[in-house]
Amino acid sequence: MTDLSDLYQQIIVEHNRAPRNFKKLAHPTREAEGANPLCGDQIKLEVELAGDRIADIGFQGSGCAISQASASLLTGAVQGKTTAEAQALFKAVHTMLTSPPGTTVDTSGLGKLAALAGVRQFPVRVKCASLPWHTLRAALESAAQPVSTE
């Protein structure tokens, strides 16, 4: 039996209502767009790298609470990190989101991002949470094409 409060945790509802770093950067050095064509979530992520470090990050777009909160949490989590650290975080979040429902996942070291752990109980919503993360990876790797998690 899944529980709604696992999905819509306070922190997710709050980040959806007031997303952090919902902004356009003045001097982005990397950017990527992501979309879930089937549900209409879309996000544009801009990154300003100072050397190998993420000096600033902002996102724009629209979508469900899960995708918006995930993007908001993402921007807070990778701010000031090196690209390698951000990539490691992508892997950790991806593992957390794609672990089969019912199994235990290690969310230590994920901080506020642990709030996204409940999403995996709702398989059709996993792509909502993962979209900003795939978009981040595309931005860091400067993928030329918009990404899709469909």
Binding site: L4, R17, G63, V124, R125
Partner: protein, 420 residues
């Protein structure tokens, strides 16, 4: 609904016995997430009565053979059942002849068939195809493809903020260059019922053929293609309580005879030599390869089931459900209805202020309520109304006021979750 056959007025009008009807549908008896299923996604696909499920099983258990091929008894039996389903489909659409009924995979394939065959024969550079602003992607994209191939122009008749076709603008967009008009009988995302007879009259006056996407109309009323005067009419079996993977293309004999084949293969030929192949007459000309025999027979059983219903009672019941759902959802301050045409089928699209449709869908699902959320394969409609997505409750005759109540209390829960 307009342009459909109404049974002659009966002396006494018993209301539809919904509880008895519901017992015919095994899936409606199931539980979801520990709660009785409230199925309100009928515009996506409908549930199947036991008779359809049983007829399909019976075919595989006792009649399975390829059609139109064998000289043995079993094949004759399969062929007879398949052609009997075609006759039932003829009756459902009130076509003049069963030869005007082509079995296809569904409405999407039917439209692609006409776009391809009609387009290759009739569309020249500069010609036009006219659709409306409320079409499903399957009645947009096939026309874009063939128009691009033929150098033809796709034009779009606008609607108003209620989701009603602007018939004057539609009439103005018709020209001698308009070769075909393709329009939904009922909008899948808004519920709007279009004035097909008027559209046909206007289009025919300019010499344009008319294709009607009837996918969302057939579940709500028997159709009368002759009264409507259409050239082509399409339905999907799975939306009218039949199996998936089967649908109907109706075309007048004159139209079907004039069209070139769609796909090539077995069953659609008269003679084949390496130098020259001649084609079978319609409908075989358009049914290349082994068809969905079980699907066709199952669809025949669905039509048989629909024929057993009192349609005056069904339509009165659906009108009541639509009015009740509109009133109850409309009364919620955070809910905005999308699509408020004066003439509607029992489809209610809505948004919840500050909450994305997918969050609405997930939360009401926890209450056992199944609704569709998203753009409903009508992105231009979403753009027109300035929303990324809507939640849509689409009701069938087996739904009840209690189903609507369950939806309304689930939507109220949405507000509570997001107020947290």
């Amino acid at each position: 609904m307009t342009s459909v056959r109404h049974a002659s007025p009966s002396v006494h009008r018993p209301a539809l016995d919904v509880e008895q009807v519901r017992r015919d549908f095994p899936l409606l008896q199931t539980m979801v997430r520990g709660k009785p299923l409230v199925y309100l996604d009928n515009a996506a696909t409908s549930q199947k009565p036991r008779s359809v499920i049983a007829r399909t099983e019976q075919y595989y258990a006792t009649e399975n053979a390829n059609v139109h091929r064998g000289v043995y008894e079993l094949s004759e039996r399969a062929t007879a059942a398949y052609e009997d389903a075609r006759e039932k489909a003829r009756g459902f659409l009130n076509a003049a002849s069963a030869r005007e009924i082509v079995f296809v995979r569904g409405t999407t394939e039917a439209i692609n068939l006409v776009a391809s065959s009609f387009g290759r024969k009739e569309l020249q550079a500069g010609d036009e195809v006219l659709i409306t602003a409320m079409e499903h992607h399957s009645n947009i994209v096939p026309w874009q493809l063939i128009c691009a191939e033929r150098g033809a122009l796709l034009r779009v008749a606008p609607m108003n903020k209620r989701g009603e076709l602007l018939l004057d603008d539609f009439a103005r967009l018709l020209s001698p260059r308009t070769k075909l008009v393709a329009v939904a009988h009922v909008s899948n995302s808004l519920g709007t019922i279009n004035p097909i007879a008027d559209i046909v009259r206007l289009a025919h006056a300019k010499g344009a053929a008319v294709l009607v996407d009837g996918a969302q109309a057939a579940p709500h009323a028997p159709i009368d293609v002759r009264a409507l005067g259409v050239d082509f009419y399409t339905v999907s079996g799975h939306k009218m309580f039949g199996p998936t993977g089967i649908g109907l293309l109706y075309g007048t004999t004159a139209r079907l005879e004039a069209l070139p084949p769609y796909q090539g293969g077995g069953d659609m030929i008269k003679t084949v030599t390496f130098a020259k192949t001649t084609y079978a007459e319609p409908p075989a000309k358009f049914e290349a390869g082994t068809p969905n025999i079980a699907g066709a027979i199952g669809l025949g059983a669905a039509i048989e089931y629909l024929r057993g219903l009192d349609w005056d009672a069904v339509q009165a019941h659906e009108r009541d459900l639509l009015a009740y759902a509109t009133e109850r959802l409309g009364a919620l301050s955070e809910v905005e209805l999308v699509g408020t045409a004066g003439h509607k089928a029992s489809v209610v699209s809505f948004t919840v202020r500050g909450v994305h449709a997918h969050d609405v869908g997930t939360i009401v699902d926890q209450e056992g309520v199944a609704i569709r959320t998203g753009h409903h394969c009508t992105q231009p409609v979403m753009d027109f109304f300035g929303v990324p997505a809507t939640a849509r409750a689409s009701l069938a005759f087996y739904n009840t006021r209690a189903d609507v109540d369950a939806l309304v209390s689930a939507v109220q829960k949405v507000t509570r979750v997001f107020a947290a």
